[in-house]
Symmetry: C2
DNA sequence: ACCTGAACACCGTTCAAGT
DNA sequence: ACCTGAACACCGTTCAAGT
């Protein structure tokens, strides 16, 4: 269970008498390169072979740092959640706890917009040691200043996390290959869907027709903010607090 | 693109002069068995080889029905969304559109509780032909009776779907092996986490301490209902409707 | 029209051996 | 303590061939 935590060196190579080279890694470099792979090409690109190549070594050496791919993903996720946590801790404290909650949720959502693969993995493990638990704590603290029962606080934070995850999963969907290739941009892609929807029978799909213009070219952040606002409004009402600060 | 849709037969075998047997499938049986595999052992158990074995044939024959594993998953998902859709259409119409929305969301959530793997896949493709789009339409129709703008309606349905997905993803997390094995039940599992949390420094983790008793032994459905209620309350306020019917 | 066996390229994981 | 090459079992997918 004991694993190295504090090697700061980047991947490097050491010469040996016989002229052969041996790669040398560190937990840091393994996770950094894993995240880079994830960022560049998504979850399916994170392969032990691809990672080993980036690190300039053999596949098997990665197993000295992690016991399985699952652990690799958990650690990589925890690694970036650490930076999100730092961003959240840097947020200025506001008078209204609900404003704090909103700012934190937005910070988290922004991180997932930058790294869509995060949506699928974060909150997978609320390990006792992990940054996820610390993040959960931070998200919960504002609710301590609201007039709620412990159960309501528990549910409130679950709800906020749920809104983030629910919107994030949407982002995490691999866009179709043509969008990744750059052959078609997101806007055109949405537009093509919208066009297909417009051709549906209006009597059978009244709602789809009602919102098709909104769907066409919509912004994911707007969508998230609206969903978050509904939850926060509900929460404010539950806490019996006025609308002002 | 044209694929068989209407073979009703179960998997069966036909004798041939030379005494060898040839398996015979149908789109129906392929999807039914795929869903059975998913239900019995989760997403990772759905393998072309496992599916072929269940169907009593070779791996390659599945490719006559679907072009890829992705298509298999999409079709399997659409298949069960069809049953959810039927459940939702069977729901009695209520006076209050928000009550309708709640009932629909709960029906959807219940389906995911029964089939945790659904959480990860549904709403992956809102194909023009698919049941997902029909489901989306149904979820949206109550909002047409609320005093909202088209954009607010679009966002409202996204929010409700988000709440479902957000809670569902939580359910979809593979429980640790020991829980699946039945060696440890869910309650004990939660309890162990709770115990670890109780040992954290209360000054550093005040929120975690506040809610640990609620977390310990909590019910996922309660959690979902609360999250949904916050969103619906926000929506009701937005629509300017009173609390009554 | 539909099914089959065998092959291919790729994956996570293990291990005995090296340094 | 840490890295390596080679092997293993398994996966999705293809294809030429059968019926």
């Amino acid at each position: 269970m004991a694993r190295p935590q504090s090697r700061t060196a980047e991947a490097r190579r050491s010469r040996h008498p016989d002229g052969r080279r041996r790669a040398s890694h560190s937990m840091e470099s393994v996770l950094t390169e894993a995240v880079a792979l994830l960022d560049e090409a998504g979850a399916q690109a994170l392969t032990f072979r691809a990672l080993a190549q980036r690190l300039g070594g053999g596949v098997a050496s990665i197993y000295w740092y992690v016991a399985s791919k699952e652990e690799l993903l958990d650690r990589a996720t925890d690694h970036v959640i650490g930076t999100v946590l730092a961003d959240i801790e840097r947020l200025p404290a506001l008078d209204d706890p609900i404003d704090d909650l909103r700012a934190m949720a937005l910070t988290l959502f922004d991180a997932i917009v930058d790294r869509p693969w995060l949506g699928a993995y974060f909150m997978r493990e609320t390990d006792v040691q992990g940054n996820s638990l610390r993040l959960y704590e931070k998200l919960g603290e504002p609710t301590l200043r609201l007039d709620l029962t412990a159960r309501q606080r528990f549910h409130a934070v679950s709800a906020v996390v749920g809104v983030v995850v629910g919107s994030a999963v949407d982002l995490g969907q691999e866009p179709p290959q043509e969008v990744l290739d750059g052959a078609v941009n997101r806007e055109d892609f949405l537009h093509r869907y919208a066009q297909a929807w417009r051709e549906l029978d209006p009597a059978e799909f009244p709602f789809v027709h009602e919102i098709v213009d909104e769907f066409d070219g919509h912004d994911d952040v707007d969508q998230f903010r609206s969903a978050l606002e509904l939850t926060l409004t509900g929460l404010r009402l539950q806490a019996g607090t006025g609308t002002g600060a």
